[in-house]
Symmetry: none
Subunit: 150 residues, 2 copies
DNA sequence: TCAGGGTGCTTGCAATTGCAAGCACCTTAG
DNA sequence: CTAAGGTGCTTGCAATTGCAAGCACCCTGA
């Protein structure tokens, strides 16, 4: 198997794990694999079998297929229909249910956009060195406030 | 991996190969794997990786997914609705969010099926209405026609 | 300060995977 | 009859996979 793919699945797993905010050992434990092995997988030193990927997916509470696709052993499904349109057109759902799903979908989308914007804001200070002092100062105040609320 | 599953994938591969009327060596050659190894796989002496299954599927000109299902590393897919397919393919959602939406969707579906069953029990008495008999009869004819064309 | 609990990683090893070399057997042509 | 070509399988081995034992480091509480 091409090393580039294996590196990709390891990065992907680490990414999903960090999103779930669990440690490597915790994920290894709930997945039922050894933590050194999970570490090696994440760093691309080992190429896990499909069974191991299945276990990791279970631990991450995502579908095994998603990991298989990243690992290059399953093709990405086409089905490029729009999620919102599909929900609205789904005859097996009541209108109320459609709305609930759409609300959650949009909330997830906003969440992801906010995460993307936050990532962009962290990169901006690097571009404007003079403005950094002002923005960094403001940023510190915000961080202090967050610590107090936590 | 449970030996019973491995024995099953080996039998399945041999079956498909014999249906295709090609020898073990021919399949091994077009699949790009060694013929002794293919022999061992067919007899359940070895458990092939997903990559090897992928190659065998290519040689047999069947989908890799079919072999994955037999090997127990992929669940048999239910017929996805458009909504499910759309959620799975949505690049703007994280894997975790997809799973949450799918779980809620399926819960709604089950809710609706239960409601439909309850409604059907309440409507049974209405079938005695004359107009309803005519429609039910037409529906049955349509079903018969479909069975003949299938 | 030290002890305990947490983090991720290193290392050696047993088991497994996949292969190359070769065997045993069958069929066909000369 | 033999030789050639085909079939499926045996065996030993290198490489890989997955693990257990343990290391290095960090943080917190007494």
């Amino acid at each position: 198997m091409a090393g580039s793919k294996v590196g990709s699945i390891g990065e992907y797993i680490r990414e999903q794990r960090q999103r779930a905010k669990i440690s490597l050992r915790q994920l290894a434990a709930v997945s039922g694999i050894s933590n050194p092995y999970l570490s090696q997988i994440e760093r691309g030193l080992r190429k896990p079998s499909a069974e191991i990927l299945q276990q990791i997916a279970k631990g991450l509470r995502i579908s095994a297929e998603a990991l298989y696709v990243q690992a290059g052993i399953l093709d990405e499904r086409e089905a490029d229909t729009d999620t919102q349109a599909a929900i609205r057109a789904d005859l097996l759902l009541t209108e109320r249910q459609k709305q609930v799903l759409l609300d959650i979908y949009e909330s997830f989308r906003r969440e992801n956009e906010a995460a993307a914007a936050a990532a962009a804001d962290e990169e901006d200070p690097d571009h404007d060195a003079p403005g950094d002092d002002t923005q960094a100062s403001a940023g510190e105040d915000t961080d202090d406030a967050r610590r107090k609320t936590s």
